[in-house]
Amino acid sequence: MSDFSGMEDLLQDFLVEASDMLSGVDNKLVDLEKNPNDRNLLNDIFRGFHTIKGGAGFLNATHLVTLCHLTENLFDKLRTFEMSLSPELMDLIMAATAGVRSMFDTLERGSQPRTADPALLDGLKAALAGQLVVPAAAQGQPLGAVPTAPPPVTVAPVTVAPAPTAAPSPQPLSPKVGGASATATPDWDGLFQAVATTTPAPVASVAVAPLPPSVPAVAPQVVAAPAPAPAPAPAMPSLPVVAETPEQIIAHAVGRRTIDKPGYQGPPAGRRPEEKTRDNSIRVDTGRLDQVLNLSGEIGLTKNRLNSLRSDIINGRSDSETLHSLDQSVSQLDLLVSDLQNAVMKTRMQPIGRLFQKYPRIARDLARSLGKDVELVLVGEDTEIDKTMIEDLSDPLIHLIRNAVDHGVEPSAERPALGKPTKSEVRLEARQEGDHIVLVISDDGRGMSAERLRAKALEKGLITDEEANAMDERQSYNLVFLPGFSTKDVASDVSGRGVGMDVVKTNIQKLNGSIEIKSSPGKGSTFTISLPLTLAILPVLLVQLGNQPFAVPLSMVREILPIDIALVQEVGGRATMVVRGEVMPIYPLPFLLDWIPERTPEYGVLMQTSEHTFILAIDGFMGREDAVIKSLEDFRPKGVAGVTTLSNGQIVLILDMKELMSNLGGGRGVPRSTFIPPQALAA
């Protein structure tokens, strides 16, 4: 079924590398819009298409070659300033990159891409011939439009360019495009030989020698594409007929990208089927792999040492020296294995910039279609994050960015009156904080009003009057995560009907992360996502209730202290204890779990989450451990983050403290009586 049997590895490599390159090109295009004459940018983009074309040739992806070739030629003209960049041309180029990307998607599914949109190809050819397409409504043009989208108000009437009366320019492409085979090419070998032999001493010609006058220079565009299969690209008419308006060209080309579809509402809870084959390879810095190799070698050596000690011990040697060596070797193994775990984890870490790369383009296209001027500022692209998380973060982040551009910031025209610069700024920031990765998406737009959110949720029947009155600001903002919530009466065709935000939250939670909203009306909103560094290993503290162990994340533990029940005081109905002059609420773990306490807790763990500091009252400890988290696939009881297996084989639940605390409704505290087992009360 695959068009690439025998070449799967090659295809995979190509896609990983070429997709990165294309994202780079996309970003450079956004930069290019700001500095249209930057030669370095033009050169880089030219080389991007050139390189993709070269690789595509080896995959026999003829149509990809053709599309890249045309675009590359366009950039060749741009970088030599034979042509200059206009908004119309820019749109055409953007459509071409979208076309290339959609071909990558086809390749990813294991099939050869079909020919690019003929309208796009014609547009490129026309542009190459110097007949710049159509003086179309470049501003406010719905780049991501689907046919159902209502026309934006700002669209100017579309006029088809009159065909130039005189078209002296030569045909930009040889009619042989794609049809040339090795035998049909001119005698390049002969030419090479002729030049090579007539050049006296190649050694001497260090500088680029001028062309000998006998060899006429040939326009670079006259090129036979070196493709073995014939391409259905039509022979170039000397006066290209612009069959479609650029809008149509672009809408066709761009519309194929799922994420660009305005109706796209974020991913369904499961993975999309076509994504199954996606990106199952990873690029790893060789230094990191070397470290893994080193450590596994060392572990091998230690294993040999243990083997020989084992036979010594089996043979009856148990003197102190042997036991000391055993002790040493086991400690060493312990150290090495944890180093290895870290090293392996590091191979999965990828700079989040790879993900960010795609966004400036998305933001730009969307902003243009809405008549807004938005700059997406990226910060902290070097921040590293687990590869699985990068993939799963992609959709939620796209959604948040689209929301910020669509709902967050005001149209350029409205901003000066509000005392804001015409250009709005959306920031996407990543940083590591301790063992967490924090992602912040903020905008300088309208902001949200807690009151309006509550009113809306009430009107939609999502909350009751009573609930609305009890809500603080933070809780009100969180209303946007409710399924079916949307503040827009008429859903925008761009970022959906409020179906997305609950999916965003679910996706983030699946990664053991959390999302918070801060907003101030008139000034903008900030979405803060906090994620664990990795999904794989979690240092935990093992606590006990009776004989039952539970694991709590060590990152939250500040200290462990004994609890003297006599010192537990009730302040305003909540049990508290004074720790170095600070009054802390105490929560007995049985109470949080809805268990009936069997004895009075003896120990407390002082814990800190982002919102609360409190003492968790427990019966005892077992120590700390690096838990390898196994998630509970379909079954996830509230307050349980996952399970892990102890060294003795026992299965332990890992508690999600944040979720357990939310059971208490904002951490208002529990009465002292909850500490005392019922039988003790009865006695």
Partner: protein, 132 residues
Amino acid sequence: MPVDHAKIKFLVVDDFSTMRRIVRNLLKELGFTNVEEAEDGAIALQKLQAGNFEFVVSDWNMPNMDGLTLLQTVRADERLKTLPFLMITAEAKKENIIAAAQAGASGYIVKPFTAATLGEKMTKIFEKLGWT
């Protein structure tokens, strides 16, 4: 000078790692297994000056230092000037081929190519060098 093909030390120069892998695989098909890689002309030059490479297969269009400049620099270097140098070009553009020939390329090959085409080009170069 008869040469054991398997031992010839190659340097494959390309900024696109997929392409380096392709070239490396094609060379392997032809029985050339002693292959190292460089990501651009500048890195290639360092490697060439440091190690005793016997054959260069280089892409043309690369950042930092392109293939043509690499070729010219190699030809100007007393110790490297006789190094066989096969230039890979993306298309059969006349002026590219002329420039490569004038700069002293031992041969050129147009993308995409098969092991057979590559083998043919190499045989020609070997013949000229008397390495058969």
